[in-house]
Symmetry: D2
Subunit: 337 residues, 4 copies
């Protein structure tokens, strides 16, 4: 029985990790912590957990926690993770970090997050936890940089056709739309109900911190540096991301051809489903699941890709558990169905 | 041309007052203030006001503002209003206060708001700004205690039948449901979209600070002290309050009789509409208007009253302007249709 | 392995039954049917089921289906169920009917549903499927009348205190609020997004067809005929019911006493949870679960009960599966956690 | 006083036309009609109109109505308008048609709407009612083809830079997001609350019937035939359209240059507002108004345009009244502020 800890247990991602793990047969949650006023049972904080887990959510103490876990999930804000990761790694524990701290090269990190990286020593050990691309490396990793929600939907939507070398890499446009939990659990006027409901906005157009992450991984897939135009939008719903991606084909392909390419690419990957020709996925097909549903349509020389995930499952906690399953030899789908 | 100032211009109530006043023919907004980081045009803060008003929203300075207004609207948090009201009254200006600071007797205020009242001298001058009950006093008032949103819907829904002396005053139950703007414009996790959306809750059951306000005014209507059971609920929508009120009739009346009583009571009151027999109002009939729509249904000896308002209009800013219209001799409906 | 069929597989309740059953270890879904244009895999109709169940959803043919099931769930409109139930019972199969057709005495049924009951012969065999009250009868039943969503929340909220014989049975007020899936899956202007969103309404005030069901069961609990005032409201959210119930205590009890009564009553019942003193449940604590969460507050001689369920789980499909578990000797919680 | 009729008075667009016109000083609504079961006052159908207009909404009779109007608004489904327009024109009345029936050439109409056009005689008389492009023709027109909601947001967002001849016309991508009222007021399972809420989908990707309308007008602006990629999305909110448009610049321009081009183009147009550099509009800035707010951002050689309107105001009824104001010599803004 693997002993698992969750740091940042009261955030949306942390909560979701716990909700998944209470149904996992191979592990036991032994430690929970968060920045809270008083230590109390997690089921007092999230009444939905009543009767499922009784553990006390403690104040953060990484050294102490490290003694009682084999693996730790970090559901922390950016910049905080890199202070804790070294502690767990040094104690010989494996880490799945849901923040952005280990996803980028240090120079890029500094540009986008505004601070010098504090744990450059461990950075090269981090494996990008997108199992559909990096399964074997994940298996052996001690440190997983769990992907961002937007990048998961965008990268999975582009990788197969990019790999085939038949799109114009100077023309990749990703127009992404996200539910509000993607922004985290925090008091913030811009996220208050009255501001978000009955409203729709684009934000950080082509300046969102997930852009370099998308570029980095897609460049690895393409085997050369490329660029993307990426505009996120905030949608008045709790969960779900839908990315509409516009690619220019450099080879003559019809929708059927492209579906074929995608199905081959994702063969044997349990959490990606390709829609039948003429159908496009919607977020409710994937919400509360770990699936990424991808719809494809060729029109002229443009390929439109619609890629849907649940931002807290495949976009965060679900993918994190998928990574854990791979790391510890569990069925990749355990607790995720 | 009356010169008008708005303090607390960036809150939901303040914003709404401004949006109404820009269409008012008899007044001119001369001053706006709010607790803000930098002074800038109100149209930069609320882009929807672009082209309608250019005024700078200043940092608060009541003394300075008092020199340039005839009337001031205070859209402030409770406890702050009572520090500013004396300044404006001393300068000979009239005040419409949208907070709760001048609605209760000082001893009751202390119980419900937890602090000693700081302006007991002016408290007796305050007129409760519910025009359907206190029209004549409002006309002459220098200080209006503008009613709370819940009390407006509940009091208007009960007053006519209570006045007839034919309900059991020991059995008044008001089950109120409100949209989220009623809670104000502020960063607060409990008001964040992801917490409120797809959720429904009762809160402060029979402990809400609007309860003593309801009791005070209904007791005045009844001519004796009475009690109410009042449970507010938070609804995932921006605007609107619907109060479902359960009263026990002490005289044999059918729905038609009761409708008749209500129609007589509100005759000549432009902002109360009584639904036809067999119909109940819904919030969308009143949202963005200053109307209170009331539906009535007798079943056995129980009278069910459904009372709907827009919490920011009739429940706050609209009623405040209605009061201003009465105070300054404008058409009661000016700028409210 | 029990063979199970679902009739009305494309409605919200039918869909939910299927989603629960695909995770059930003791049964196998062998038949699905619905009124559809063409027979196709259920996973084409509900893409979220892709990879979980491949069965074809057929057009209705009760006789044929009866040959291939041990138990059938009927997720059908009222008045349709009573035409199919006799067919399955005659074939020796057990039936869980989610409609209202077997919940009321025939004379009451006629008053509220407007038609003569067509299967009076089987009506006496039906057991009301509320396990917290009728567990032993359910065990032996061949025909379950699965409770309505509103009645489940209201009855569970009142039964313990009513059983103690310490409330005024002439004063039971249930103010219920429901998400929109409770109204079923059908084209209906009144249920369209633009009509429901940003709106709130009471409907069928004290005239809703669930009222006689509440009265019947509560009268059985009380051992005498009583009446209730019941007003349902439509809330702009998908799932969840919250009933706020106002009862007049005839004995001096404080909140702690009442909590004690409820905890004793529901001891050993896995799906009812009583909130700690000072806390009230909200719908998101129970949404997507089979729990009923009940909060209690005494104020003067009034007991306020807040009772929350997921209308499609404990209010329909979840409770139906709970009944199946009891009928066939499975763990009561199987597939429901 | 101009006499005005509204056909299709019970649809969302018709309702909105009425709500605007009751505040218009230069006209009088003399006729209302809709396909309804019984003729009744429009204020019984829309209680929000109580006290503002008492007119009976009649069953359709174009000949009779034509005798009592100077101008008629047609808020009708596609294919129905073209049966009524000839009647009104023959009677010498002016017509503003909110359907798509007079927006396209007959051959294109047939391709996209699937039927032969029935009024080819009047088609050449129709003026496309986008005042920012066709003001002078609108002034003299007897028949206005009022633009679609998506085309209004997209065309206004592209026209200024296209006119400057500095974008790649082979690379125009419009990713549009709309609230649900855009789909009209009708019973339709796909538009029901439970299907739309907490869901997000792309639909009719590059196959939406508004595509040829966008192409037609933009080709007129460009002076040559061009193509667009257009993907609409359905957003869980009532009102508002936000189009995110991706254009490739063929000349070196920065954001400031582009803002300058747009401001010059829309100089003197009262209902288009260009956002300051670094700001992007959101739908709530324009909802319930007739404004189109446009934000601009250059990144590399890509110009991102964000264009927001209220789909029922600038996207339908508001624009229709704007056209009326121009046709009859009223202030272009009358009743629209």
């Amino acid at each position: 029985m693997i002993k698992v800890g969750v740091v940042g247990a009261t955030g949306y991602a942390g909560e979701e990790v716990i909700k998944i793990l209470v149904n996992h047969k191979g592990i036991k949650i032994t430690e929970l912590s968060a920045v809270i006023d008083k230590e109390e049972p997690i089921s007092s904080i999230f009444p939905a957990l009543k009767g499922k887990i009784d553990l006390i959510c403690k104040k953060p103490d990484a050294e102490a926690m490290a003694k009682n876990v084999d693996l730790v999930f970090l559901g922390l804000p950016h910049k905080v993770s890199m202070e804790l990761v070294p502690i767990f790694l040094k104690a010989g524990k494996r880490v799945i970090d849901l923040s952005a701290d280990y996803r980028l090269a240090p120079d890029v990190y500094k540009v986008w997050y505004g601070v010098e990286h504090k744990d450059k020593g461990n950075l090269p050990k981090a494996v990008y936890g997108l199992p559909e691309l990096y399964h074997d490396a994940i298996k052996k990793a001690d440190l997983i940089a769990n992907p961002g929600c937007y990048p998961t939907s965008v990268i999975l939507g582009i990788a197969p056709i990019l790999k085939q070398n038949c799109i114009d890499t100077g023309h990749i446009i990703a127009d992404s739309k996200s539910g509000v939990t993607g922004a985290g659990r925090k008091p913030d006027l811009a996220l208050s109900f009255s501001e978000v409901n009955e409203n729709l906005k684009a934000y950080k157009a082509n300046e969102h911190q997930h852009k370099p992450e998308i570029i980095k991984i897609l460049s690895e897939v393409a085997g050369k540096t490329l660029d993307v135009v990426f505009t996120p939008h905030l949608i008045p719903m709790n969960r779900g991301i839908l990315s509409t991606i516009y690619l220019r084909l450099t080879r003559k392909l019809d929708t059927k051809d492209v579906i074929d390419i995608y199905e081959k690419f994702y063969k044997g990957k349990p959490f990606v489903r390709i829609s039948a020709e003429g159908k496009l996925p919607q977020t409710k097909d994937v919400v509360l699941t770990n699936y990424c549903d991808i719809g494809l349509k060729v029109t002229g020389d443009i390929l439109i890709v619609v890629s849907c995930i649940d931002n807290l499952k495949k976009g965060a906690a679900g993918q994190a558990v998928q990574n854990m399953n791979i790391m510890f030899g569990f069925d990749e789908k355990e607790a995720l169905e």
